[in-house]
């Protein structure tokens, strides 16, 4: 094995498979007794090919790798629609209490009353904050919550003997919306946005009809604006016999301020890793509890948490009794307990006033950035915005600098770039979401950096953008090569050739 863990920090680190040496061990296990096995013909007779490593090498490996990452903990991370807010460490500590971390999902109910109470109490918060009467706690992530909501909608139509096939989705929607609708057996039909970044009510109404099962809207939408006609759209939807699914990815703009139930929403997933600050963890795990209106509540997935007469909680795991109309199970066991503990702790820390302040500060911070950069970048739509602000690339016209180049130059300034090229409805989109946990000081430093870069793009230094970032752990990667001849794992032979 040729790997060496040295050289410049924050640069290359060998693969685990290049660091091993047979016989080393990073773990201390007792010696087996060597008794006769009862594995029968299934007993393994060949090796697996994993490297043997000592603990210090493993710790150093991951520590060195971690230093190649940008996180909220290292600097500003205004990745639009992803809500990269501070993750409190208190919640990490609480989730690791043995009564949550070391409890089996199939223990008898009498031994898990505390865990069931966490689920029940978080469910209560989510119902009150959304103004909807039921919540399915089990979806593992936002997209899973979308699926939960659309399954409930289809089950509700089926219960009425209706086979509706179409779902209306605007172009500005997250890609998960059409993917979920298709996954759930629906046909997806696009509806148009108006010039103000909002769904055009007239075109929505024109598209509604007896074959439409639901509309899927995001509110605030991915252009960062509130759908001001949302109540009229909900009414038209209901009048056509369809349901209103709201993508709750941006609920952090409204939490404590507006209840989606008051807007006519029938179903909405809540990304606990966004609004309720559970860690994003490099891409999960998330959690996507899905609130449901009275019309959809009977179809909620299994299990159901029931209150017994003696005050105990229990899980109803079959589609019987009150859950007789449930559409069934969405996954094994019951939800993301570790995420629930963190989210409930977040709620309790803020309380009813604080949680409203969360939404207000998120919106304030986004509008502050928007105002300060309105003459520097090019806002896609008139203000005010909600928790994030969308810019198009017209501010780069004539510079030869693209949105991607601009994003890479922001990396050189120490910032994570905003979401780029999404939503698809404006040219070269830059979607900036500061979140409420950033101070005015941080926002000012970002504003200053953005202004400097724009000045450079219009000055004599525009050429430099194509090579940015120059000071990050890596330069730009050859993504074409990665996709044309995919190398998706290490192989021993490849290492020998290297």
């Amino acid at each position: 094995m040729s790997g060496i863990q040295s050289g410049a920090p924050d640069r290359a680190e060998p693969l685990l498979f290049e660091l091993g040496s047979p016989g080393r061990s990073g773990i201390d296990l007792p010696a087996p007794s060597g008794c006769a096995t009862r594995l029968g013909s299934a007993e393994r007779s060949t090796g697996i090919g994993l490297p043997d490593l000592d603990e210090a090498t493993v710790v150093r490996h991951y520590t060195r790798l971690s230093r190649l990452n940008h996180g909220i903990d290292t600097a500003f991370y205004p990745l639009g629609s992803c809500t990269m807010k501070h993750n409190p460490r208190l919640h990490e500590k609480l989730a690791r209490l043995p009564g949550f971390a070391d409890v089996h999902p199939l223990q008898p109910a009498s031994t898990v009353q505390g865990a069931l109470t966490v689920i029940d109490e978080l469910a209560r918060w989510l119902r009150i904050l959304t103004g909807l009467p039921a919540v399915a706690m089990w979806p593992a992530a936002g997209a899973h919550g979308e699926l939960c909501g659309l399954m409930a909608i289809r089950a509700a139509h089926e219960a009425k003997g209706e086979a509706r096939h179409r779902i209306l989705v605007p172009d500005s929607a997250h890609g998960t919306n059409p993917a979920t609708a298709a996954f759930c057996g629906f046909e997806v039909e696009k509806v148009q946005e108006g010039a103000d970044g909002r769904v055009d009510t007239a075109s929505l109404e024109a598209a509604l009809g007896p074959d439409v099962a639901a509309i899927m809207l995001t509110n605030p939408n991915t252009c960062g604006v509130f759908e001001s006609d949302i109540q009229a759209m909900a009414e038209a939807t209901h009048a056509a016999g369809a349901y209103f699914y709201c993508d709750g990815a941006n609920f952090n703009a409204l939490v404590g301020k507006v209840r989606p139930g008051d807007l006519g929403v029938d179903a909405m997933h809540i990304n606990l890793h966004k609004t309720f600050s559970t860690p994003h963890g490099g891409g999960g795990p998330g959690a996507g509890p899905t609130v449901l209106s009275a019309a959809l509540a009977p179809f909620a997935p299994l299990p159901w948490v029931l209150h017994e007469d003696d005050g105990q909680l229990r899980l109803l795991e079959q589609a019987t009794g009150p859950a007789g109309a449930s559409f069934g199970r969405l996954r094994a066991f019951h939800g993301q307990m570790g995420t629930f503990v963190r989210a409930l702790a977040y709620c309790l820390s803020y309380g009813r006033e604080g949680i409203r302040q969360v939404a207000e500060d998120a919106v304030l911070n986004a509008n502050y950035l928007r105002s300060a950069l309105a003459n520097t970048l090019s806002p896609a739509y008139p203000g005010p915005c909600m928790h994030e602000c969308l810019f198009d690339d017209s501010f780069l016209d004539g510079t030869g600098v693209s949105t991607l180049d601009f994003a890479k130059a922001l990396i050189e300034q120490g910032f994570h770039p905003p979401t780029v090229y999404f939503p698809l409805v404006v040219s070269g989109a830059l979607l900036v979401e500061p979140t409420e946990t950033e101070s005015r000081t941080t926002l000012d430093s970002f504003i200053e950096a953005a202004r400097d870069l724009v000045a450079r793009a219009h000055g004599s230094e525009a050429d430099g953008f194509a090579n940015a970032p120059g000071n990050a752990p890596r330069r730009r990667a050859d993504e074409t090569r990665a996709a044309r001849s995919p190398v998706l794992r290490w192989k021993p032979s490849a290492a020998e050739h290297r």
Partner: protein
């Protein structure tokens, strides 16, 4: 206020800069009658108070480590080395997101590439993705992928699939328009017949759980042959990843897709989630795979770099035609899995698997001696099923109440209404099971079944 750095003075100055008098002027698009509702919620609590609340809630649960513990059935209690948690709590891993910007995400991307390699090796497959939500949803995705690859709509499921996984399939199939065909077969504790039933026509896949829900293990090869002869794929679902340290590799024995619950390594019980789903398959199906993939390439200076790749399969590009709607995976759990497996290595995993098996063998031997208990398995890894002389639910409840022993999962919890399984109890042991635990289990059976 906690975690809100701006002061009232900051807010005032910011509103002035924006040019509006009050915060609600920024919410002017919201219909005023729905703005600022009264919420029946408590006021803020301090960190000390919150600590107390959760200590009390945690204390109302019987932690697995509080006494003898023999529950499995799809979630297993294993020792997690201290360095796993220390490493996954590094902020650069914990507080980053999907690595959209490779220049500043090599930590996450390389760990995913290593995870993919570990999963491929462990399952005996050529390629693996960067994780799914959990084993049960990975299993659903495998069946949907098989349907895409074969352009067929029927999935044949062998006996012994975990009922929660089975119910999850049933839910999805209803909406996705797939048909589940149940193959008849095995008695609880017995591995599948060596010659499978005739497979239904036009079958996209045959799905076999390994070890099965009652812990039995056996030969996958006849099932691979039968599936392939019918033009179907073989999907193998592994509920306990540690078993792969002792069992023949499903990929090498002919599985076309292997899915697994990865909770056993690094993740912990956590009352059922978050967990991590493993998904592996053959190279030729890679563009039909769901989920994120990290791939190797070079940067403009020629340095080895990793990127998310083959994204054209995914929802953010393919939208309604994506291979799956999955977006977020289970990144941090995948990292915990990967760190734990790195610490174990080839030698450590083999030893860990062996210790699990031996603990289960010792447990089986101890309780086989108890009158009224009969072990149904000929073969098993770290879990087996026993038939008792009376309803297992009552026995398990009494053992827990009177002796503090969590003896296992009554089959009636997973198969309510199945009278033939009312007396069956699933019992799992791991490297954390001590000889004292086993003796207390045996003694508790003796007392309770007297």
């Amino acid at each position: 206020m906690r975690w809100l750095p701006n002061t009232d003075a900051d807010r005032r100055a910011m509103l002035d800069r924006i040019g509006v008098p009050a915060i609600n002027d920024l919410f002017s698009d919201v219909p005023s009658e729905v703005l600022d509702p009264v919420l029946d919620l408590p006021p803020a609590a301090s960190e000390i108070e919150i600590g107390r609340v959760f200590e009390e809630l945690s204390g109302r649960n019987r932690a697995a480590g509080d006494g003898p513990f023999f529950l499995g059935a799809g979630a297993y209690r294993h020792y997690i080395p201290a360095s796993v948690d220390a490493l996954i709590q590094r902020g650069e891993f914990l507080t980053s997101y999907t690595p959209y910007q490779p220049e500043i995400s090599q930590g996450t991307l390389q760990t995913l590439f290593e995870f993919q390699t570990q999963v491929a090796l462990l399952t005996g497959c050529e390629v693996a993705n960067a994780s799914m939500y959990d084993g049960s949803t990975a299993c659903v995705e495998a069946t949907l992928m098989a349907a895409r690859v074969t352009r067929r709509n029927r999935i044949a499921v062998a006996d012994g699939l975990h009922p929660h996984w089975h119910e999850t399939l049933t839910t999805y199939f209803h909406f996705a328009g797939l048909e589940l065909v149940q193959l008849s077969g095995a008695e609880p504790g017995q591995w599948l017949p060596a010659s499978p039933d005739a497979l239904p026509d036009d079958c996209a896949a045959v799905l076999v759980q390994y070890p099965d829900v009652f812990g039995a293990v056996g030969d996958l090869r006849p099932w691979a042959e039968a599936a392939h002869a019918a033009g179907a794929l073989l999907i193998v679902a592994v509920p306990e990843t540690v078993a792969l340290g002792a069992l023949r590799s499903p990929g090498e024995d002919g599985a076309d897709i292997v899915v697994a619950e990865g909770q056993s390594l690094g993740v912990g019980l956590a009352f059922g989630g978050p967990y991590v789903g493993l998904f592996a398959t053959r190279d030729k199906y890679v563009r039909n795979m769901p989920g994120r993939l990290a791939g190797e390439t070079v940067d403009t200076e020629g340095e080895r770099s990793f990127v998310l790749t083959l994204a054209a399969r995914e929802q953010h590009i393919r939208r309604g035609r994506a291979t799956s709607n999955i977006c977020t995976n289970s990144g941090l759990c995948a990292l915990a899995f990967s760190v734990h497996l790195a610490l174990l290595g080839e030698t450590g995993l083999a030893r860990l698997a062996r210790l699990n098996h031996e603990a289960a063998v010792r447990t089986a031997e101890r309780i086989e001696a108890v009158k009224g208990v009969s072990v149904a398995n000929e073969t098993f890894f770290n879990e087996f099923v026993v038939a008792l002389d009376r309803p297992a639910e009552d026995v398990a409840a009494a053992m827990q109440r009177e002796r503090g022993v969590l003896a296992g999962v009554p089959a009636s919890r997973l198969y309510p209404g199945r009278d033939d399984l009312a007396n069956h109890l699933l019992i799992a042991a791991t490297e954390l099971t001590t000889d004292d635990d086993i003796e207390r289990l045996g003694a508790a059976f003796e007392e309770t079944l007297r």
